[in-house]
Amino acid sequence: MNAPFLIAKGVTKRFGALTALSEVDLEIRSGEVLALLGDNGAGKSTFIKVLAGAHSPSDGELLIDGVPVTFSSPKDAASAGIATIFQELALSENLSISENVFLGRELKRSVLGVPFLRRKEMKERVAGLLKELEAHISDPEAPVGSLSGGQRQAVAICRALNLNAKLVIMDEPTAALAVAETRKVLSLTRRLAERGCAVVLISHNIADVFEVADRIIVFRRGRKVAEKIRSDTNPEEIVSYITGAHPDVRALEKAN
């Protein structure tokens, strides 16, 4: 087993009197898909926002490669190698695929201080990434507006790879996709992990999670209530953790 890329120790987040996350300990390993499951309001979104630098934890710490880090903005998280693919993807439909992949950090050649684009290099780089991901998009110059939902996910993943992300957080990547598209995104997710990235997948769809995840963590009411290797568990058990019907969860909730 690899050494963990990121360790969260006792991460707690309070919003006033409300405790959204309470003492979450977990490890994220490179080359592994980790699924976060939980009902609405269970704390998984708050947790990824802490990872992405959008929230700073009220308590606890994050360690990357064993070194404690604090993120004061999403930019800090990005420079530490954490890329978040938001539900709304943050793509500009009027620009081409390669322009989107490089948006905000274009390859450029400065002439008298004016940043001219190096279109050819950007195009080649994106074509390479798309091929590597087997995304079946032939033209990196096509406008993103003409792509399907799954292809847009592929573009967003390319963006993350291009930032040399070591940890990619995917927030409900299959929520709005048709069946065939979902398959494609799941295989992209798998391929991302095979490339050595750590992947955190948030999903409501247990079938999807069982298809790609190596490890499954269940959140409930701001706590981590279960951590299972996929092969040691089954969907029924996970559902009982999510709903709180599992005896372990009951015992835990009674204790508090």
């Binding site: 930019k75 620009l95 905000g104 950090r105 004016v114 001219f116 684009l117 096509a142």
Partner: protein, 318 residues
Amino acid sequence: MNRVRTLQSPALVLSLLSLLWVIVIVGLFALKPSVLSVGTITTVLQFSTILALVSLGQGMVILAGGAGIDLSVGGTVSLSAVLGMLAVKAGLSPFFLPFVCIGAGTALGAFNGVLVTKLRILPLIATLGTFFVYSGVALSLTGGSAQSGVPDWLLWWGRGVLAGIPVPFLTIAIPAFAIAGVVLAWTSWGRWVYAMGFNERSARLVGIPVDRTRLILYSLSGTLAGAAALFSLAWLGSGRPNIGQNLELESLTAAMLGGIAVLGGRGGVGGVFAAVILLVTLKTGLLQLNVNTVWQVGIVGALLILVLLADRFSESWR
């Protein structure tokens, strides 16, 4: 889907505008054959210079989205021209006139930018307010009278003609459009403008400095209006407090007609350039045919509505 998109590219806008232009020319020729001469071309281009500069700024502000619009351009042109002349009257060496005009324009534009980006006032309202303020101040400073005293060397530039083409058109309008076109198409700044114009949220998420870019674009619109003011001085020989009248309406029409999407993110400056030439040709033609100026403004307004309708329909085709 892809084909529709290609059809809506700048090439389509340009060919449509050229077609309209040919129709205007042919119509004009049919009604009054004597108008077609080199002299008319010179006149059209001379009249185009102010509108071209102002429309370029207007177009870029709209392109950057966020409900961007600059209604104050007319007021900025008037006030920059008046301020320039008043400074000369107050004893400033005329050598500095270009700097005063362009500097005043930039400052007035930057003020719009601050209202929009820092104080978060809706651009339509912010620039409507500054439009009244700027044009009001221009009138009250002068009591409504034209300010004379433009130096000869400036007139020489403003009225010069080279091979049938007015010198100011060659030396400021064309370079301004060429630079803007290159920056928008070939630099990362250009990509940022398109990205924030189309989807501001995603532009912010990827780390584009949206507010700073927008502030710069409003300032730039002011700079171009200041340059237009300078040209008006050099051409007319005096600073008129109402020189910018109707420019907001006409520059908006030119930007829309030139294919810049009202909500931003689509369009280019080439179309704006063609639209300016078309509008001024139409106006010059109407003037030659002795159509009342009141009607000219009405026709510009009607054209604007037509363009917005066309935009609306092309939207539903997609």
